[in-house]
């Protein structure tokens, strides 16, 4: 995303307080006129990354479309916790059909809008990693192949959470889930090939693909809005930690997401027509262990003894991401590169803090 240099005083994170910004630079979430597309009263767990990600992304889409959007939701946590009969938290027209067909249903909604000449109404399809990466893959690929005018958002918490934390095609190696338990000689999920859906989306050469996390609100809002600049098939993949399934503290959701990006395990980038057009460089690189230690789904890598070989393989994967996507442009703290300006008392510099 484009970078702007601003002054900030906040310690411990790279977030800039909105009151320090000009109104037009402020995030959608900071405004009282934000849509609250997913409004309060839903039944998500304390600290749910998906609830956060959905609200962030969809409020940005609502602003970009001037409130003219329809959402199609796959079965999953988001669908279940947002519509417990007889209530709904959605303030937009919203349709839930099945687990594996959200992209196809969204295609149908988009076709209906075209048939009716409602080119002003935009369509979002959304689902968790389960409904996207596994059971929804055929429909997703079909939607990409036809270049249907749909923005598909995948909220990736890396397992089938709603049904009790079972492993999905998005579950990372070594992670504990209910179907890849932390027992035996090789506890946790196996080291397979993984299924990198953002890269699969890029292979379809659709107009816009991006990854984001709930740790960087402005980046996520920017990408959701940017996606609406395009017509045709678009894909947004958002990492959303799940305290329950990941075994992280509910208050750490944003921190855990940030560690995922800063370790290199979750590259944040944008692509258009199959080519990467921008990456969010890692500002302060951390070893993968900093990330892994925050979640008890990786506890077996550290207790009773540290599984150094497994951790090394995970680190190697992070290293490959960093090289592949150019996530560390160079090792300096050049503000041009990192977007960090030092100002105020030396003690407030987060590069030297914590």
């Amino acid at each position: 995303m484009p970078y702007e240099q601003i002054k900030f005083y906040q310690v411990g994170s790279f977030a800039a307080g909105n009151r320090l910004l000009d109104p037009e630079q402020r995030s959608v979430q900071s405004g009282s006129e934000r849509s609250n597309t997913l409004t309060c009263g839903h039944r998500a767990c304390q600290g749910c990354g998906e609830a956060l990600g959905a609200r962030y992304a969809l409020d940005a889409v609502m602003r970009a479309t001037k409130g003219k959007m329809i959402a199609v939701n796959a079965t999953g946590c988001l669908e279940v916790f947002s519509t417990p009969f007889p209530e709904t938290s959605w303030q937009i027209p919203w349709l839930h059909s099945l687990f594996g067909n959200a992209p196809a249903v969204a295609t149908g909604v988009a076709a209906a809008m075209r048939a009716k000449g409602r080119t002003d109404v935009r369509v979002v399809g959304q689902g968790g990693d389960g409904g996207t990466v596994d059971i929804g893959m055929a429909c997703l690929s079909g939607m990409f192949e036809r270049d249907d005018d749909v923005l598909y958002i995948c909220y990736d918490n890396q397992a089938y959470m709603n049904t009790g934390v079972q492993r999905s095609g998005a579950t990372p190696p070594a992670a504990r889930t209910a179907t890849t338990p932390a027992v035996g000689d090789e506890p946790g999920n196996a080291f397979g090939q993984g299924k990198n859906v953002p890269l699969i989306a890029m292979a379809h050469e659709i107009p816009y693909v991006a990854t984001a996390t709930v740790a960087d609100l402005r980046d996520l809002e920017y990408k959701a809005a940017r996606a609406m600049d395009f017509h045709g098939a678009r894909y947004l993949h958002i990492l959303v930690p799940c305290p329950l399934g990941w075994g992280s503290a509910p208050g750490d959701t944003i921190k855990v997401a940030r560690l995922a990006t800063e370790s290199g395990l979750f590259p944040v980038f944008e692509a258009e027509a199959g080519t990467v057009t921008g990456v969010s460089p890692i500002r302060r690189r951390v070893p993968v262990t900093d990330y892994l230690r925050t979640q008890s789904r990786y506890a077996h890598l550290f207790h009773p003894a540290e599984r150094t070989k497994v951790i090394a393989r995970i680190q190697a994967a992070a290293d490959r991401n960093i090289t592949r996507f150019g996530l560390m442009k160079d090792q300096t703290n050049d503000p041009e590169r990192t977007g960090v300006t030092h100002s105020g008392p030396a003690g407030s510099d987060p590069a030297e803090g914590s």
Partner: protein, 415 residues
Amino acid sequence: MLKQIEGSRAVAETVAMCRPEVICAYPITPQTHIVEALGAMVKKGDLAAEFINVESEFAAMSVAIGASASGARAYTATASQGLLYMCEAVHNAAGLGLPVVMTVANRAIGAPINIWNDHSDAMSQRDAGWIQLYAQTSQEALDLHIQAFRIAEELSNPVMVCMDGFLLTHASERADIPAQAQVDAFVPPYQPRQVLDPSDPVSIGAMVGPEAFTEVRYLAHARMREALELIPQVAARFTADFCRESGGLVRPYRTEDADLIVVGLGSVLGTVEDAVDELRDTGMRVGVLGITTYRPFPARAIAEALSGCGRLVVLERALSPGTGGMVSADIRMALPAGPAMHTVIAGLGGRAVTRKSLRAMLTQAAAGALGPLTFLDLDAGLAGRELARMRDARRSGPSAENMLRDLGISASRIG
């Protein structure tokens, strides 16, 4: 306008006149000619609709769901394996109360894979909550589509129009293709009960727990009961507007004084009527009851039509292995104390149902010599030899291949 036309083509031209807004289909024999014709019409600009080439039948019904929920008139077509592949979405459409219209070009379900006609596909979905209409001729096939859009949208319930694969889809016969103005007068613009609209947002498809699920399902049941009233009204209105009989619940033929009545669905009824005429010429008092609306099951209409006869033969184009027929079970439920009933499983996987075999079977039935469950034209020797092979050896091999080799159809073993 009267035309000599292929059944699929007749249906495509008529569906086009019903002004569908979104057409989404995946090709499967024997439905291909219908969707190809519609696709060509859209591409040429003769039909203003969105035509989506989907990647599977599951996607086809899903696209239809999205379109219908957004207020667009949605249409798709499939058969056999395709109907099964979209099964989850078929139930979903009915559960959500979306008036999708779908043509099912009836074809057998595998294994073994078979592309020919029987009713096993539609029968497998008889409890999904869709209205099921069965066409006897190409004329009725196209007529039923016009009625289907009206019925579906009036009730907010999906409708499947069943037409026998190959026998109706690929046969050329005479049909009266209506004029656009006639169809427009019969099928008004779609006014949805529920619709995704940014100016009036609703959530469709919420989870419903034990506290309300029964009531939601009861509404589906109530819709089907209402359909039993609406379908004859629509058929009567159709007769008035188009000057021919088509649709409705049941169609009796020479049943008034019949001692023996044959019950059936679909295009086989034509052959049955010919056989019945031949038997009537010999003095046998036999009649036919065609079931046009199979779901909801028109129990009362059937009971009335069968009230006078002493014996029934139910001709089934599908099989419930180990049990027998499905239509038979429905009829027995409608007539618990009714006449003696013989289930005859006929024409599975496209085996021809001939007048000769029907006459022989009905003669046996009239003489009280037919058992409760018969397979018409079963090659008992062929089946028996495979059963013997299976008894003799554990590793008897795939049954289908064994039997085909027995019939001399497969190539001989190499080496």
